[in-house]
């Protein structure tokens, strides 16, 4: 059965902090940091925003884009590593706030930065088997790095939501296939009741991100018999600006192919939202017939690769809800003091 994207929506908070502003506080060299990370500013949630409000905002944009009858939604899965509750699902809040409940199922997903793409895969299975009519898959995070940790320069807030369906006539993009590559790799973790995550320093690159992204991507290309040049665009998980560029190069994708989806220099790493945000930004400019290759990565570790083909239907739903570029435009910049206030209580311990 054909499965794919019926609608999608993104959400990014209005506030940003520049790399220079964080570097100033900690005595870091802003130019070295900017060149090293290729992240120039990152989004910051408002004081009353969290992963649940971001998930709802992204989901409502997805629903409003196509004027969806939300009673058709049979499953809501929210991927995040910053769910507001330790116990109590985010997805029930989303389901109620989009008017999908109660005739449906829901659960929260966790897998570092790829919990959102895992939710997409589960929805593909449920709609593909005919168990449900439509599935709502979301990746949303308000990520935090410990003060003066490398992650503080990139950990950002945002989310993207996808409505997954199986009626070819209503798909704006067909998901041609998906492939995952998963191992037990301790490159990034956070124990229960710890405020900030720990990471394996340099270990996060080669055995974590690069091994899994390239293996996942190569696995899907092999499974489908496609080559990088068969695709118009590509999106790779973007924890910073450098990693996706290098992954693309290793796999034989060009800088032009990844350009529209590479939003991290102006957004930061939205964790579970990261790859899904890149796909959303690419769908915003894609034309019917375009093919998009995407690979999400989650520490711990695993990758989910997708091959997406845009249909004629996409043109019908332009301009109804904000694009990723529109959400990135016109930000309000914060100084470090206000930024700390927006993040809530900072724990230096």
């Amino acid at each position: 059965m054909t499965v794919g994207i019926v609608s999608y929506g993104a959400y990014i908070p209005r506030y940003r902090i520049k790399t220079e502003e964080i570097a100033k506080v900690w005595g870091g060299d802003a130019e070295i940091l900017k060149n090293g990370l290729k992240v120039f500013e990152k989004s910051v949630p408002d004081v009353d925003e969290d992963a649940a409000t971001i998930a709802v905002s992204a989901a409502r944009n997805a629903v409003n884009r196509v004027g969806l009858d939300t009673q058709r939604i049979g499953a809501v899965y929210t991927g995040s590593e910053s769910h507001p509750y330790a116990v109590k699902p985010t997805s029930t809040i989303v389901a109620e706030a989009v008017g999908a409940s109660p005739d449906m199922t829901a659960a929260d997903f966790e897998f570092a930065c790829k919990a959102g793409s895992a939710a997409v895969q589960v929805c593909m299975g449920l709609v593909g088997s005919g168990m449900i009519d439509l599935g709502l898959a979301i990746g949303a995070d308000v990520s935090q790095g410990a003060p003066n940790d490398a992650l503080e320069y990139t950990a950002a807030a945002g989310g993207a939501a996808y409505v997954i369906g199986n009626k070819e006539s209503e798909l704006i993009a067909i998901i041609e296939d998906t492939y995952s590559f998963t191992t037990d790799t301790p490159d990034f973790w956070r124990r229960e009741s710890q405020h900030y995550p720990s990471h394996g320093g340099r270990f996060t690159g080669d055995p974590g991100y690069f091994r899994h992204v390239t293996s996942g991507a190569k696995g899907l290309l092999k499974k489908m018999g496609t080559k990088p040049e068969d695709y118009d665009y590509a999106v790779f998980h973007q924890p910073n600006g450098k990693f996706p560029e290098r992954a693309a190069q290793m796999l034989g994708f060009t800088k032009e192919q990844i350009k529209p989806g590479l939003v991290v220099p102006r957004l930061g790493n939205t964790y579970s939202g990261s790859c899904l945000m890149g796909i959303a930004a690419t769908l915003d400019i894609a034309k019917p017939g375009d093919r998009i290759f995407a690979t999400a990565y989650g520490s711990g570790a695993g990758s989910d690769a997708f091959s997406i083909r845009v249909t004629d239907k996409i043109e019908e739903f332009r301009g109804k809800v904000p694009t990723v570029e529109e959400l990135l435009a016109d930000p309000i910049y914060l100084d470090y003091g206000k930024y700390a206030h927006h993040k809530g209580k900072i724990n230096f311990g």
């Binding site: 409000t53 905002s57 507001p84 809040i93 109620e96 309000i332």
Partner: protein, 131 residues
């Protein structure tokens, strides 16, 4: 507010559900069972507001109870929804930009929480339309 009471009003808070009187055509928020205009002749139905409207009056709060300390300063306004109902709400924009007559739309935000271990309350606030 108690958890059960908030939960009963959740639909109203999450999705701006109020009441519409089919007799006189008036809209009300939150939900009412009896139309104050028509009384026994009223015929009320539940109605989900579009979430668009304009600011009728506003004020900036600089001091508040502990529970809302993270938010100050913030703008409070009476918003008249396009259907005609009025409600009191926080405007999430920078307080100096909030002014009478400006157009607003609804957003989903945290309303508060019962300390660090209690329930988190979510619901509707309003944001200025982009000019």
């Amino acid at each position: 507010m108690t958890v059960p009471r908030f939960w009963r009003e959740q639909q109203s808070r999450y999705n701006l559900v109020g009441s519409h009187c089919k007799t006189c055509g008036n809209y009300y928020y939150p939900i009412r069972n009896l139309c104050p205009e028509c009384r026994r002749d009223g015929d009320m139905e539940q109605y989900k507001f579009k979430g668009t409207g304009k600011i009728v009056t506003c004020t900036v709060t600089h001091t508040t109870s502990d529970e809302f300390n993270d938010l100050v300063p913030y703008a409070l306004a009476i918003v008249e929804l396009d259907e005609g109902a009025k409600l009191t709400t926080q405007i999430v924009d920078e307080p100096e930009k909030v002014a009478i007559g400006k157009r607003v739309h609804s957003v989903f935000r945290k309303l508060g929480s019962d300390g660090d271990s209690g329930i988190i309350y979510y619901g509707t606030k309003f944001e200025l339309d982009k000019e």
